[in-house]
Amino acid sequence: MEHKDRIRMNIGPVHPAMHGVLKLILDVEGDTVVKAEPEIGFLHRASEKIAEMRYFSNYYPIMDKLDYVSALNMEILYASTVEKAAGITISERATYMRTIMAEIQRIMSHLIFIGSLGEDFGNLTSFIWALRERELLMTIVEKISGGRLAPMYMCNGGMFYDFPEGIDKDILEALDKIENKVKHEYSAVFTKNQIFLSRTKGIGIMTKDMIKRYGITGPIARASGINRDLRKVSPYLAYDKVDFDVPVEENGDTYSRFIVRLNEILESIKIIRQCLKQLPAGNYKTAVPWIIRIPKKDTFVKQESSRGEMGIFLVTDGSDKPYRLKLRSPTFFAIRALEELLVNVKVADAFVIVASIDPVMGEVDR
């Protein structure tokens, strides 16, 4: 080896701080990373091949397990794709219900992000607190859908069940609690904590140019000053009927990525409250046969999941199964930026930066 004082560290795929099964190959000199190479594929479960073997209605469980931290977003995306391809229209109530579920899931996903970011710089308590708050919403998802992590709530044409009686009161109660915690407790642990600030501010800066080069979307792009949110740019579901802001930060460092997500939780709470107020009566489901056939065509649908812009390219050939289903995952692009982002940072910071990307490997590897 030409560099005698270089150590090559193989971090992951099994490592307490690695998110899922990402593997990082770091060349370290002293305590500084000089070369980084992310390696993926440890959770490649062949979701795209399995899609070609399942009926359109039977693919929802697999979608759940793609981005398992925001499963409902995935379900909604797939449902929208199939409905667009098959020309199914869903009732207005269903769009509102889907908006509510998508935002609940977004809050839950961002809570996990906040917790794991805290854990990666050594604060285990923040992680457990975030899980505690997440459990409040988990109970609601459980009440509504019957499932926890993989709820299996959406189906072609709407939802499997209607909202149970009095769920809006539960949701509002939980949201109040979470808003209170996020505004007060989390600011004490994170934004007013000197150690946290010194560990995140100015660390892992992503410039606008870098974002555009790598094709990164979602909260990470918004933390670098790119004001793009598909919920605003091309409103789907009921997002054009509610009023919300898109939090944008300019610095592009780890701290901005944290703040963007923290503010997104508050925006999501706002959206859910409005949706609950406006929730119209009507059918929650359009009757669609279990086995549908979609004529030969290409469909491309993209939506804003909690991690960025998730898209599905669906090729159908007139049969009851997809001919080809390609998933466009946001963190697949974001993780590649690590090769540039991790150079010349300290080893300890490398983990915080990875956490700030918030990868979910199920979605990266598919």
Binding site: G41, G311, F333
Partner: protein, 155 residues
């Protein structure tokens, strides 16, 4: 957006077909695969990133769907290129759209399509010693494939 695809079609007269009417997507079909780089340079004026690259196996023809997008608005452009089974290679567009890097590696991994000029064309999702390209329609998931663990186990 209509203007863009028309403009592109005019520029590449005869080499580019417009396909319209499918779910309001802007789709153009490129007849000659050697022009993909030239087209990409042209597209670079309007689009920031390669949004995704979808390969569809209509054996004996493989259809590549390049989806381009940009950050300013909602527009997307899909470029279809057909590759023959006998010559599964196409010029890489990584030097034009950097975001194509891993997408092309994935297409190489799962479909075995060679991208000429790609800086680092290796398998990305599957182990290096994996046999075959699983997302091709000809790939059969039999017991042998399912039970292959890549491990040398004694029991």
């Amino acid at each position: 957006m209509e203007n863009l695809s028309e403009k592109l079609i005019k520029e590449f007269n005869g080499k580019l077909d417009a396909i319209k009417g499918q779910n309001n997507l802007n789709i153009v079909a490129l007849k000659n695969k050697k022009l993909i780089k030239k087209l990409s340079w042209e597209i670079k004026n309007y689009f920031d990133i390669l949004y995704t690259l979808t390969v569809v196996d209509y054996s004996p023809v493989f259809e590549l769907n390049y989806v381009f997008s940009n950050y300013e608005n909602d527009d997307i452009l899909i470029v279809k290129v057909n590759l023959d089974e006998k010559d599964l290679s196409i010029d890489s567009i990584t030097d034009i759209f950097d975001s194509a890097n891993w997408e092309e590696r994935e297409a190489y991994d799962l479909f075995g399509i060679k991208f000429n000029g790609h800086p680092d064309l290796r398998r990305i999702l599957l182990p290096e010693d994996w046999p075959g390209h699983p997302l091709r329609k000809s790939f059969e998931i039999n017991d042998e494939v399912r039970h292959w663990t890549g491990l040398d186990l004694k029991f």
